[in-house]
Amino acid sequence: MTRQITFSQAINEAMAVSMREDQDVILLGEDVAGGAAVDHLRDEEAWGGVMGVTKGLVQEFGRDRVIDTPIAEAGYVGAAVTAAATGMRPIAELMFNDFIGSCLDEVMNQGAKLRYMFGGKAKVPLTIRTMHGAGFRAAAQHSQSLYSFFTHIPGIKVVIPSTPYDAKGLLLQSIFDDDLVVFFEDKTLYTMKGEVPEGSYRIPFGKADIKRSGEDVTIVAIGKMVHTAMKAAGELSKNGVEAEIIDPRTLSPLDEDTILTSVEKTGRLVVVDEANPRCSAATDIAALVADKGFDYLDAPVKLVTAPHTPVPFAPSLEDIYLPTPEKIMKAVQEMTGSELVI
């Protein structure tokens, strides 16, 4: 069997590989090394990020390239924008995507627009890695999935991997991409294991992955929801309904062709997204199909998303906040009219 490592290790490896390949790659963030200027602390004892994702990088690359920052997101994310524009290839870690409130200007008005405003005379090869996702009991300010926010803004590329393999290949692509990329890491996936090749490989942006093929319904699922949708597809199959599962992997750029081709085949679309439903990736994909694939549809498009509420803390509420295989099956049942055993 080929090598199995976790989602977290895959991300760590992508950073290590890129830093070996290119001296200009640096990493900045809060406690990405950990324990800066603590005399007695050996590098191997350092935190390596709150979740340990960057552990070991300071040992190999030193504190000049793995830089602990003050709690000053506007400061270091803004600095990373122009470090990128002036010759470095930084990775800035925004611990939780919820903290974008502390540095939105630097991302939205500076990083994203620099190239366009300068008439193409600058580039911003910056990757912002950030954690997202509910289900961790982390409550309203540490659990959001804000990728649609960034997808809305021209000049930003948006990446959401769902497997360790994709995480490594997409992060390498992000780091060596010449545009500003926001790379989302679902905190509940960090311990997930999967096959990951050693060394360097890149997965191109704008190429969706068809996780499962089927004739009856297309399910586009984002991030962790790919796994939820796969579970639903297994159950649906027992009921004679074959779902095609598509993981877009990047929301900007979006692989419109793969989605439209699939809907042309199946005639039905369900979008599964754990983010809030208004002005979301889910509504965006639904609008794409309504706009360019209306004639393919045999039934109205269905969305399975979180409700329009913040993420609740109580486990009993957070569990019903998230989409589940049952909710997906119910949506499919409604549109196929089939009698499923749920």
Binding site: I71, A314, P315
Partner: protein, 337 residues
């Protein structure tokens, strides 16, 4: 900036009882949460205040329910000192319907607006402008109330520190900014992340008083706080107080704390805030050992009762998911329903 020594100004027995009791409540509450978290039944992130009791208590002894405080991710101590109910707090940490926020906020968002507690906060630096807004209300409504902003040494490098203090200063708002300098922000030392010898020194930049005190000495905190609260109530504007302290536990539960050094042993023993106050109270003849020990027993039982209350409490009902988003209507289930 001035260094304040322990000031022997008399503490009445009544106030001493209140302060000691609140410090014990915080300590035993946090020690219990630590213990329970270790068993794996508590959801989410928990940041404990044990070790830093003297700060919240030394400040809140001057406050009443109409005064506001803003807090941090390490908020349990602020809640207790501001009079939040232990049962409701524990139930919140358990995510139960009887929690102070109906289980919807959790440890990092415990709040009780009736008590003037404007919420623990998941966003570092979030409290500065929030305290300014509460201070603005007090000023415009001429309530005579104040707002206290508790924040960490890590937060003192966030942009909101500058924006918040500067505004409070130009508008002479009744706000007290209280730095809890426990030496670390997560695993990052204060001296690495901050280009200043002392947070109190930063007051110079805003032309307001800045004071540095021993944050393990509740009497010293109380004295500095008294000056600041009086100044605020008199309409003279904000003060910055830096309280030097140490946290007994890790940044969050589960932290191996490899960045801490030898100093941690001293902090758990000789330098302990509660021991210090105990010695002071008995030494000054304000309270007897028997009285203090009895109080300790009572507080332990109160914390036991809070745990029992939380564990017996119901989970929130599904329909509560959709409540409290807006005042004027209940959000529908959206696409998930």
């Amino acid at each position: 900036m001035s260094q304040t020594q322990t000031n022997q100004a008399a503490v009445s027995k009544k106030e001493a009882e209140w302060m000691f009791q609140k410090m014990l409540e915080i300590r035993h509450f946090e020690d219990r949460v630590h213990e329970i978290f270790g068993t794996g039944i508590l959801p989410g992130f928990v940041h404990l205040y044990a070790g830093e009791e003297a700060i919240a208590v030394g400040l809140c002894t001057h406050l009443n329910d109409q005064d506001y405080i803003t807090s941090t991710h390490r908020g349990h101590g602020h809640c207790i000192a501001k009079g939040c109910d232990l049962d409701g707090m524990m139930a919140e940490i358990y995510g139960r319907a009887t929690g102070l926020c109906k289980g919807k906020g959790g440890s990092m968002h415990i709040a009780d607006v009736e008590k003037g507690m404007l919420g623990a906060n998941g966003i570092v630096g979030g409290g500065f402008p929030l305290a300014v807004g509460a201070g603005l209300t007090h000023k415009l409504k001429k309530t005579g109330g104040v707002a206290v902003c508790f924040f960490g040494d890590g937060a003192n490098n966030h942009g909101t520190f500058h924006e918040g203090i500067n505004m409070a200063a130009i508008w002479k708002l009744p706000v007290i900014f209280v730095a809890e300098n426990n030496g670390f922000a997560e695993a990052t030392p204060f001296h690495y992340a901050s280009s200043c010898k002392s947070i109190a020194d930063r007051a110079i930049g805003y032309d307001i008083p800045g004071e540095k005190v021993d944050g393990k000495d509740v009497i010293a905190v109380r004295e500095a706080a008294k000056r600041a609260v009086e100044r605020a109530r008199n309409g003279e504007g904000p003060t910055l107080i830096e309280c030097v302290t140490y946290r007994n536990y890790g940044h969050f539960e589960g932290d191996a704390q490899t960045y801490k050094g030898e100093e941690k042993v001293k902090h758990l023993n000789d330098l302990d805030a509660i021991k210090k106050f105990y010695t002071y109270l008995t030494g000054q003849g304000i309270m007897t050992e028997e009285e203090l020990d009895k109080m300790d027993e009572e507080v332990r039982s109160a914390v036991d009762r809070a745990v029992e209350f939380a564990e017996k409490s119901p989970h929130p009902l599904p329909e509560q998911l959709l409540e409290d988003v807006y005042v004027s209507y209940k959000t529908d289930g959206g696409a998930a329903s």
